[in-house]
Symmetry: C2
Subunit: 337 residues, 2 copies
């Protein structure tokens, strides 16, 4: 191992001087600084992370707490892990993955053993017990998802209400007057998941603002059950001509089933999807509002880093970052026949 002593000897200075060159917290003469930097480069020196964190009580590590196991593995999880890891690096931090396999005690262990400076909580519910628990242990957190109590901790999320509203208004603007909202799967509605509740609410408000209404239906993970619901919609006397769908993974099944009924998209019905698109749906040219994974990752990581700084005028405490929805054009939107 190359240590700070080796660098100091090579540069002909004291170890403390090397440390000051590294931290930049002291004025250093140009020649001393150059000699130190040259020695660091030549020896391939990197500060020992353990020693540094022991002495400075900063680890430059962010803990990423994965959703509770009850929620199951989420397809979108991998992209957030990747995005947050990249963002953490950009802030000079590393990312430690914490699964809730041991009942949430993973985060407590991280806090007590000082493995991280802050934590990002994924899959945040309207009420999330992890927030208070970590406050009690002195581990600052940032939330991926918008909780009921927006002041409990800094958070970042897509503005789901605005996204649903944008979908409804876009369909309305194209001339549609029979617009339906196919919401998230019913389990998410029943447990009042943040993005589910806010999406439905946004759609209804947008419709009300347009002087109309929008019937809301839950989606389903079971393709057969989803097909029955689609049938019920299109067997009605006045079938929808515009459909906003907050369940992108269901889009292939919906398209296939409609096509089987002789309903063509967008000739007979227009479609706007909202949310996370599985990677293997790349071939589908759907008009959509995509989950801005990279942007959300960058935002929540920035909040986590800010929360772990002692002072910095502490402007971000409890701040929320609401990311506006963006519509991507596709081949599933057209005026009604």
């Amino acid at each position: 191992m190359v240590t700070i002593k080796d660098v100091a000897r090579a540069a002909g200075v004291a170890p403390s001087t090397v440390s000051y060159v590294l931290s930049g917290s002291r004025k250093i003469s140009a020649e001393t600084g150059d000699a130190v930097r040259a020695a660091i480069a030549e020896l391939g020196y990197h500060p020992n992370a353990g020693a540094r964190s022991l002495r400075s009580t900063r680890t430059n590590v962010i803990a990423l707490s994965l959703p509770l196991p009850a929620r199951g593995y989420l397809p979108v999880g991998g992209r957030f892990m990747y995005g947050i890891s990249e963002a953490a690096r950009a802030f000079g931090h590393d990312l430690l993955l914490i699964t809730a396999g041991d009942g949430g005690s993973g985060l407590e262990r991280v806090a007590r053993s000082r493995l991280a400076d802050s934590a990002v909580l994924m899959g945040v519910e309207m009420e999330d017990p992890r927030i208070d628990a970590m406050h009690g242990l002195g581990l600052p957190v940032a939330l991926l998802g918008r909780p009921a109590d927006e002041a409990a901790a800094p958070w970042a999320d897509l503005d789901w209400a605005a996204a649903a509203a944008l979908a409804v208004r876009t369909l309305h603007g194209a001339g549609h007057r029979r617009i339906h909202y196919l919401a998230t799967v019913e389990a998410d509605i029943r447990t009042r998941r943040s993005y589910s509740v806010r999406g439905i609410d946004g759609a209804r408000r947008a419709a009300a603002g347009l002087g109309t209404g929008v019937p809301v239906h839950p989606s389903s993970t079971d393709p057969a059950e989803l097909a029955r619901r689609i049938d019920a919609l299109f067997d009605a006397p006045e079938p929808p001509t515009g459909l906003a769908v907050q369940h992108p993974a269901a889009i292939p099944g919906i398209l296939r089933h409609l096509s089987g009924r002789g309903v063509e998209v967008p000739r007979d019905v227009s479609l706007i999807a909202i949310g996370n698109f599985p990677e293997d749906l790349g071939g589908l040219d759907t008009t959509r509002i995509e989950l801005p994974v990279t942007e959300m990752s960058a935002a929540v990581t920035r909040l986590a880093v800010a929360a772990s700084r002692p002072d910095r005028d502490a402007p971000d405490q409890g701040a929320g970052v609401l990311i506006p929805p963006r519509l991507t054009s596709g081949g599933t939107l057209a005026p009604p026949a």
Copy 2:
């Protein structure tokens, strides 16, 4: 912060005794041990990770090196991250996520700053430059994927050759004599990715063993292009009656296109899929050989932990773990008409 001194004071012993109780490396009387454990529990003591790793040169952290960015984000990545994180916890380790965003230098930084005891390399190629680089830096690695040089480092992988062979033999055993192999996407074949090459090879050898042959076709991420290839197959004078597909994400598109041509599965053609199933294909009842993500994660994590132990009779060096394929029954296999 609760330190070892606080525990020692509460238990009425020396700090070193607390340490010995924790490590178990010294005989301790029952009453002393109980007193120390009671104090630890009461105070909620966890050893400071930085201090521990500084002193013991062990971090109990495994670095997970994500695939090179050239490979793009892989849908299967999230499940491996989750699986390896869970496995690491079971071995008393944490998992640090390293993206190759900065050109592989992330791993070097981890090695030089002693942030981890070992690394798991994901998305290993037949030749992977990371292996030699980490050997040079003294960071032991374990590979998720089977490299060309199997002795270069311990590795774990599904036996892709056996999986392809099992698919071909199963179709043959059901009576099929016109079996085709739809391999991975051509980019993977062209770059000679391990699982791609081994799958094709396994299918060909199995067919040869049965005294027959198996035409091999590359798959495509472009649904339209894939449809053209399917058409070419089924427009031929002797269309396949059995299809082994090493590209599960393409299955919905294949089924839809075949159905559009009036080809029914399994009436007219049987299908066996091999590989990772996107989470949202749950509704499809496909006969298949699934990527054993949990098993592979546990195996590679065990290898990484073993590689970081100084001695332990060093039995695992360069050992490979080849996981046998398992066939899952589904509704896409039947005897030929």
